[in-house]
Amino acid sequence: MRPIVEFAGVTRIYGSRVALDDVHLELLPGELTFLVGPSGAGKTTLLKLINRELRPTSGRLWVAGLAAHTLKASRVAELRRRVGVVFQDYKLLPRLTALENVAFGLQAGDLRVSDEEARDRSQDALDAVGLGDRGDAFPHQLSGGQQQRVAVARAVVAQPPLLIADEPTGNLDQETAWEMMDLFEDIAAWGTSVLVATHNVAIVTRLQRRVLTLVHGRLVRDQPAGRTGRMAWLASS
């Protein structure tokens, strides 16, 4: 199986600050992977590299068949349409309703989706995150956790081959967080590669999936699924 994401010696430096340091990594289709590490370790930076929000300072990086490290600006949108993203700060469009936000995620990628279809599928996605009755609300009318769930719905609605989520349960209670994880597992089972950056120890330890540990920008540990014991990064940070 060809990897959907491949990091080959990727380094990212902000000014003089090394946020990601020589990372080698492969993600496979259908795999649910957790990305953990202390605050400021470089998790968001790694995810931003995948979505071509950032370019690597050095190293090579392939995403969904495209060479992200040399990708022309005109083809960036094409890459991003193959990646569903849950941003750490949600990034909902403030002037669209929840349903419109989700539909935007769908139709931005595929013009062939008709309006009714977009509405139906967006409604399904909102139902899946438990917000079926809040489709008409604007982001500022939703609670923090509700906004976060709209962001999850937008990321999954187009069923992209790759899904990356940055702290998608940070504002959710334990039970709702589990529902989101169920959703991610379903999506992974459907063939999507899912990468979730999270601080939620309970979830990571219980699900027993693959865990990548970042500390100070270095990928210090890559535990395969089923062998996630005591969280190493708790001690090492």
Partner: protein
């Protein structure tokens, strides 16, 4: 619960229809609604644009009227007196008259006899005692030739200068120096007028573009989000350009309607006076001006949206 999403379906029927619908909706359908939602950030732009477009429209119309007025007055300035010998015979004068009347450059011809010439001279300030003081009438009869354009004065002058009926010493009122002065004044006025119109236009364009820029700058976060979600370039730009166009068109429409309304009211209220002071400004011309104002607003709104989007679009 979560399973619902995964059972996604892609019934690829009526795809063309959907694509077209989506294109139209993304570009126009939502734009009007979202324009209304965003009025808060576009209101200042709208105000400035309306004011300046209105100004441009009215000043443009005024300029047009002044231009026509000037044409009329230039017509009056292009009157050539051809002085006749006191001893010119009637057939000679008639010959000369016919020669002039057949000339395409001549618009009209009037014969002024010596008595009329004296009477006219008495009306010139500074010569009041003339009629009384002098027994004999020193003023010659003349043919007053209305030349179609002031530029043909020299040619007509050359044409009649050596005619037998014409006074050989002071053949005509044509004065090269005075003519050149008039030309200079006309040119100066035209240049000044165009410079002013151009300046106002430049201000209108700059301020409008700046207003739209500011409105888009206020929404740069949205542009970033759309790009991050993978929206293609046209889908990010499209709605902003259409919204800019709506803003421009709204400003242009208001400005155009006011321009037309004011002109129309002036025409109907005082047709006579208006015709005299603003010749050529008819209802049709007013409507045309309003349409131009509208189109300029539309073009400016969409154009400057497009340009200022570029700055926020580098990836």
């Amino acid at each position: 619960m979560a399973g619902v999403v995964v059972r996604g379906r892609f019934p690829r029927r009526r795809i063309v229809q959907a694509v077209v619908t989506n294109l139209v909706r993304h570009l126009f359908g939502g734009a009007a609604r979202s324009w209304a939602r965003n009025l808060g950030s576009t209101a200042p732009a709208l105000g400035s644009m309306t004011l300046l477009l209105l100004m441009s429209g009215l000043v443009g119309l005024t300029g047009f009227a002044l231009h026509n007025l000037q044409q009329v007055e230039t017509g009056q300035a292009s009157l050539l007196h051809v002085y006749l010998r006191d001893d010119a015979t009637d057939p000679d004068v008639i010959m000369l008259s016919q020669r002039l009347q057949n000339d395409a450059r001549v618009a009209g011809l009037t014969y002024v006899n010596k008595a009329q010439a004296l009477e006219r001279a008495q009306r010139i300030p500074g010569l009041p005692q003339l009629a009384d003081a002098s027994e004999s009438n020193p003023f010659p009869a003349s043919l007053d030739v209305q030349v179609k354009t002031i530029d043909d004065m020299a040619a007509i002058d050359a044409l009649v200068r050596d005619d037998v009926a014409v006074d050989p010493v002071y053949p005509t009122s044509y004065d090269k120096g005075a003519y050149q002065r008039i030309q200079a004044v006309l040119l100066g006025t035209a240049v000044a007028g165009f410079a002013f119109l151009g300046l106002l236009g430049f201000i209108a364009v700059t301020v409008t573009a700046n207003s739209i820029k500011a409105a888009i700058h206020a929404r740069r976060d949205e542009i970033t989000i759309m790009q991050l979600v993978g929206a293609p370039r046209w889908m990010v730009r499209g709605p902003f350009v259409v919204e800019g166009a709506i803003t421009g068109a709204a400003a242009g429409l208001v400005a155009g309607l006011i321009t037309f309304g004011l002109t129309f009211a002036a025409i109907t209220a005082a047709a006579g006076a208006f015709m005299r002071f603003a010749p050529g400004v008819t209802v049709t011309v007013a409507a045309l001006a309003a349409a131009i104002v509208l189109l300029v607003g539309l073009g400016l709104g969409s154009g400057s949206s497009l340009i200022s989007l570029r700055r926020h679009m580098e990836t």
